[in-house]
């Protein structure tokens, strides 16, 4: 089982590095999805399939939605379509695709060979739920306050400029 961890770990490191060095947000997002998928596989190799699934659903799913939004906003006319074509050139999607293909191959190989993951300690949804609403209950509450603070901060900082200047507001 160790090869699954090492291969997906390496994929995570490579793709995260690529996220940092991209100049266009859309290209960085492509690599970010791969990075999140490889982290999901790392969780999977540790015997936490539920967390792996959550990682894919929440992070990769949310990033996909962001991606679609960016594409939608760019799609405003013929020149924008031209711009869009430039964004999705072969050079840009080939790297993330190769990494994703490697991850898929490793996953399929593991599943077909062993039928399941060999880790004896599989942490399923039930265990996660019992931990979160048992000893870690306060942690869940604190995380909610963390999200509240993040939301308030993002709302205040992200509001349009026109409300921002002195003399405005209230």
């Amino acid at each position: 089982m160790e090869y699954l961890f090492y291969i997906s770990g390496a994929a995570a490191v490579i793709s995260t590095f690529m996220v940092i060095i991209q100049t266009k947000a859309v290209h960085a997002l492509l690599y970010l999805i791969v990075s999140l998928l490889s982290v999901a596989l790392v969780f999977f190799s540790f015997g936490a399939p539920f967390v792996a699934a959550l990682e894919v659903i929440i992070y990769a799913g949310a990033i996909m939605v962001l991606f679609v939004f960016v594409i939608m906003m760019l799609n405003l006319g013929p020149e924008a379509a031209e711009e869009e074509k430039k964004l999705i050139s072969a050079r840009m999607w080939i790297g993330p695709s190769i990494l994703a293909a490697i991850l898929l191959a490793v996953l399929i190989y593991t599943l077909t060979r062993t039928g399941t993951i060999a880790n004896p300690l599989i942490v399923g949804p039930k265990e996660v739920g019992m931990a979160l609403y048992g000893p870690y209950l306060i942690g869940v509450e604190l995380a909610s306050i963390l999200l509240l603070a993040g939301m308030v901060g993002a709302y205040h900082l992200g509001r349009g400029r026109r409300y921002g200047g002195p003399g405005e507001g209230e």
Binding site: P135, I138, L146, L148, A149, A154, R159, G169
Partner: protein, 473 residues
């Protein structure tokens, strides 16, 4: 959770409910005064309930939090400091017209993060508390969005704090992989089991994360910029509550280490302490900006605190607690003065702006003098007793090198404090557009002055409370 657990948690629950109340109130009616009153009420009720939950202490509420005298004492300190910050902020924000209500929600959640830190007994609550604190602070530092300096400061804080959080998390993971427990008490196991690469690397990384939060010497680069760019009340909060909470946690868990089992850890911390004292005080000499001077001063103050921490033993607990209380008062007062003096056109931060302050605002000049003298550690102020306490703890532990550096750097420090004071009492060059002194800020600064003198002349009350906290009788 048993009912008694909930009773012990009452101050935290009230504190957690108050930012929610502020947000809900904003949804219906957006008024600065309303948000302010709700936050003051939340802080006061939470402070009052400390005495109620005191009866149920000590008690471990789930593995995450421990409610005992120590955490209640520091929670009380944090609540009072937050109260002072919100009083100072009210007048400050009134002058700068932005959407002001959200500020109080962020301030209250930051206070909750800080109190979670001092009560945490587990990596999870430690990290969550730290993140609540940092996340609220990013937005608070950038709160006056019109100012480029604020945005720059917030951005620096965001990037560096995230990096330091990553270090902290990695360190926690390494220690978990070694000790097999995420409870902070497990750190003591690490020391007993003898040295190992995992434990050493984990401890080093955790210290990097903590050192960043405390702005200790090799990790202090962000401090002056952030303090300069942030609104003055927020700088006060970063300098006091944010640092104090992390330091209280450090003292509680790393003193369990019995540092002598881990000599290299002791020497690393001693080096950090010496560097902080020297760098903080020497670089402050070069500054011409009052907020930057205070920032460097806070770096050196944390170096002094490390001396007390390294002395270890109950005496050092008392010294750290007393020093933190007096440092809170003096720092809040100093930044409070900067905030109170801020005119509608912006903060007055250059030394020239303070030239001849005494002829214009004699009371404020007097109060500022007191606060600076306390930071310098001169008699009749809280800072003197606090520094005395630290030196005596250091001498009892035989840490002569540290005590000597402390004495030498205090003398250097005296010079720049006196420079600010001399500017205030010198002749006026021209009229400076000082703002009206806001009522809330005025009250806060006056109360802080009383506290400063009271702690300096009549320290036995607080020392009594601290002794009861430590020895529990």
């Amino acid at each position: 959770m048993a009912p008694d657990d909930l009773r012990a948690l009452l101050p935290f629950m009230i504190l957690a409910a108050s930012p929610v109340a502020v947000i809900l109130a904003i949804a219906f009616y957006r008024g600065h005064a309303l948000s302010f009153i709700i936050s003051i009420a939340g802080l006061l009720i939470s402070f009052g309930s400390l005495f109620y939950s005191f009866r149920y202490a000590p008690r471990a509420v789930t593995p995450l939090l421990i409610i005992d005298r120590y955490s209640l004492f520091f929670t009380g300190l944090i609540l009072l400091a937050t109260l002072a910050v919100s009083l100072i902020s009210f007048g400050y924000l009134e002058n700068r017209s932005y959407r002001r209500g959200e500020y109080y929600a962020l301030l209250l959640s930051a206070a909750l993060g800080a109190s979670t830190l001092v009560a945490s007994s587990h990596f999870a609550s430690f990290f969550l508390g730290l993140e609540i604190l940092s996340l609220s602070l990013y937005a608070m530092v950038a709160y006056t969005r019109g100012s480029r300096f604020s945005l720059e400061a917030a951005f620096k804080y965001l990037v560096l704090a995230s990096v330091s959080s990553a270090f902290l998390l990695f360190g926690m993971a390494l220690i978990y992989s070694y000790a097999g427990t995420m409870e902070l008490a497990g750190l003591a196991l690490v020391s007993r089991a003898g040295p190992s690469v995992f434990a050493t690397a984990g401890l080093a990384m955790m210290l990097v994360g903590i050192g960043f939060k405390l702005a200790l010497a090799p990790f202090h680069m962000w401090t002056p910029d952030v303090y300069e760019g942030a609104p003055a009340p927020v700088s006060a909060f970063v300098a006091t509550v944010s640092k104090g909470a992390v330091f209280a946690l450090l003292v509680r868990y790393f003193s369990a280490f019995s540092l002598h089992d881990y000599p290299y850890l002791f020497w690393v911390l001693a080096g950090i302490s010496i560097l902080s004292m020297l760098i903080g005080n020497l670089l402050a000499l070069l500054q011409n900006n009052v907020k930057r001077i205070l920032a460097y001063s806070s770096i050196s103050q944390l170096g002094y605190l490390l001396v007390a921490f390294l002395a270890s033993g109950p005496q050092s607990f008392a010294a750290v607690s007393y020093y933190l209380a007096s440092y809170f008062v003096a720092m809040l007062g100093s930044f409070g003065i900067v905030a109170v003096l801020a005119g509608p056109r912006g903060e007055l931060v250059n030394l020239e702006d303070y030239q001849g302050l005494v002829w214009n605002r004699p009371w404020l000049a007097g109060i500022f003098t007191g606060m600076l003298l306390s930071l310098a550690g001169l008699p009749l102020t809280a800072g003197f007793i606090a520094k005395f306490y630290i030196v005596s703890a250091g001498v009892q532990a035989g840490q002569w090198a540290l005590v000597l550096v402390l004495a030498a750097s205090s003398v250097i420090g005296l010079f720049y404090y006196v420079r600010v004071i001399a500017a205030m009492y010198s002749k006026r060059l021209e009229a400076v557009p000082y703002g009206e002194v806001p009522v809330g800020g005025g009250i806060a600064v006056a109360v802080l002055t009383v506290a400063l003198l009271w702690l300096g002349i009549w320290p036995s009350t607080l020392i009594g409370i601290i002794q009861r906290m430590i020895y529990g009788n």
